[in-house]
């Protein structure tokens, strides 16, 4: 990182990631949520840019109204007061596979330049260096959610030129192939990291740096990317979190600073 520390800027790395991600949910309706940062992102969006957002959890909850920050996607606070609780079959078949989910959050140990994700192993499958959790619902979420938002920290070991294992498909690198897939999902549309925000090039499906967070340099980005990153021609600076966004994060969504310090 460059000289500017997050303390100087009045917000943490997590807070600018949360604020930037939540703006990507403007107008969204039905959102598949994960735990940790995505949970805070979605709750922030519901209070700011996406008032009608329905929080959907793969544990079978549609329209959650959590009264506390859940540690897991199966927290009891997600059940109490929800619009509906379904069996997991119904959630995956009728809601996800049938195409009702607008947007979903995914992350992973590794991502490649086309937004393919690895959550299965580091090293070889049969003799893994690190055994990761595996797919969970990620493989089908990547295929069926209309768009995928990725939020993860950026480093050489996570932004890799070649995945050790492709758990969840992103773009193939051949947009004609992608258009002919016939999936509900259009793949990842945005990646937010602790360094910047990315979109995906319409012509090539390649991850493209759109903005860098204040204080981050292009050398920081290159040093933490396993390929030569593609840059937007109008590369800009990520807007800083607003006072209201910071107030909501600190006072309402994560008052203990579990995920945001």
């Amino acid at each position: 990182m460059s000289a500017a520390t997050t303390e100087d800027l009045g917000y943490s790395k997590s807070e600018i990631m949360i604020a930037a991600s939540s703006r990507g949910l403007a107008g969204a309706k039905n959102c598949f949520v994960g735990v940790g940062l995505p949970n805070i992102v979605c709750n922030l969006a519901q209070r700011t840019v996406a008032r009608d957002l329905q929080l959907v959890y793969e544990s079978g909850v549609f329209g959650a109204r959590p009264e506390r920050l859940p540690l897991s996607i199966g927290d009891p606070t997600l059940a109490t007061g929800a619009t509906a609780i379904t069996s997991m079959f119904e959630l995956f078949a009728f809601y996800l596979q049938a195409g009702l989910i607008d947007v979903a959050f995914l992350g992973g140990a590794q991502i490649d330049r086309f937004g393919n994700l690895n959550t299965t192993v580091i090293g070889s499958y049969d003799a893994p260096k690190v055994r990761l959790p595996g797919s969970g619902g990620a493989c089908e979420i990547a295929i069926h959610a209309r768009r995928i938002l990725v939020i993860m920290r950026q480093a050489q070991r996570s932004f890799v030129n070649e995945l050790d294992f492709r758990t969840s498909p992103g773009h193939s690198g051949d947009p004609a192939h992608d258009a002919a897939r016939g999936w509900h999902g259009s793949g990842p549309t945005s990646v937010v990291t602790d360094l910047g925000t990315y979109g995906f090039d319409a012509a090539t499906g390649e991850m493209t740096l759109l903005t860098m967070h204040p204080g981050v340099t292009i050398d920081d980005v290159r040093a933490n990317t396993g390929w030569d990153p593609k840059l937007a021609t109008d590369l800009g600076e990520t807007p800083v979190p607003s006072a209201e966004e910071l107030r909501l994060i600190r006072e309402e969504l994560d008052p203990g600073g579990v995920y945001t310090k």
Binding site: P76, A79, M88
Partner: protein, 306 residues
């Protein structure tokens, strides 16, 4: 109906056999740790353990040496990180290798659906352009017989020898009512050859009949009913006790070190005679702290049509 009520010790002794495929289901909610502990205590061996999310319960059971094979779709400590005992078996073959068979969540759910519905396979739209089918040959692409351009993947039925589920309440013949997160317990129970229902409270049949929409598993598929309060700790029972998130975090520390884990198993499983001893050992203050506030559902009128 005759009573199937028994003790956890007898239910596990009678219905769980060495070499069985065992599914203790419950997605974060209603995970019957008490049954897992009894299986460890009775030193069952060579089990194939199936669960969508092996969770801390299968980390404990794998550490206890009961498992030969693991079938799963998400292998982690939810909200915390890794399951260290299982990782040691997979990464280092320490103390022995563990066979694994993995799916996605939807694939696992549909394996139970196929098992419960007496189908030879179940088609889903998943696994496209994923490496998962390359490491699990049971996940197979298939063309639609009605549209040659439409390809799905099929997964095989999963028919556990024994499924163990936990419910808020059940009557003595096994009619079980569940509320909150439903997971795939209904599917896993109907798919199984033998079913153990564990519950917080055994109630009169009339309590069940007052609210039939809430009956998730009917006694007709149930072999044994066990009343075992707090049986899901550190998982939770909606409306009865909260998830013990502090223990899930603590397990990360315990399981990182094999000796610490072995000491924990001795103190909290092997040296205790039953789950009642476990409940007593935690102490009343622990359970008081996990008790939720009240959020009643209100009532509906089914109507009387005499």
């Amino acid at each position: 109906m005759s009573s199937k009520q028994t003790t956890m010790r007898d239910a596990v002794a009678d219905l769980v056999r060495d070499g069985d495929t065992v599914a203790i289901e419950g997605f974060t909610h209603l995970i019957c740790f008490a049954a897992g502990h009894e299986i460890i205590r009775q030193r069952k061996r060579d089990l194939t353990l199936a669960r969508m999310t092996p969770d801390v319960i299968y980390d404990q059971m794998v550490a206890g040496g009961v498992a030969r094979t693991l079938i799963f779709s998400w292998l982690g400590n939810p909200g915390v990180g890794s399951l260290h005992a299982i990782r040691r078996r997979i990464e280092d073959h320490d103390p022995a290798p563990l066979e694994i068979e993995e799916y996605s969540h939807f694939g696992m759910v549909c394996r139970y659906v196929a098992g419960a519905s007496n189908l030879p396979f179940f088609p889903i739209r998943s696994y496209y352009e994923s490496d998962i089918p390359t490491v699990n040959p049971k996940i197979v692409p298939m063309r639609s017989p009605y549209d040659a351009g439409d390809e799905v993947y099929v997964v095989p039925p999963l028919r556990p020898d024994v499924t163990i589920v936990h419910a808020q309440r059940a009557d003595p013949s096994g009619d079980a009512q569940i509320w909150g997160l439903l997971g795939c317990q209904k599917e896993a129970a109907f798919a199984a050859d033998r079913v153990i229902v564990v519950c917080e409270e055994v109630v009169e049949e009339s309590v069940i009949r007052r609210d039939p929409n809430r009956t998730v598993i009917p006694g007709v598929v149930v072999d044994a009913v066990v009343e075992e309060p707090f049986a899901c700790h550190p998982s939770f029972t909606q409306g009865y006790y909260d998830r013990d998130n502090a223990f899930y975090l603590e397990w990360d520390r315990i399981a990182r070190d094999p000796e610490t884990l072995e000491t924990w198993l001795k103190e909290w499983v092997y040296d205790l005679g039953s789950h009642a001893d476990y409940v007593e050992k935690w102490g009343a203050a622990h359970w008081d702290a996990l008790r939720p506030g009240e959020a009643l559902s209100g009532e509906v009128d089914y109507g009387r049509y005499a």
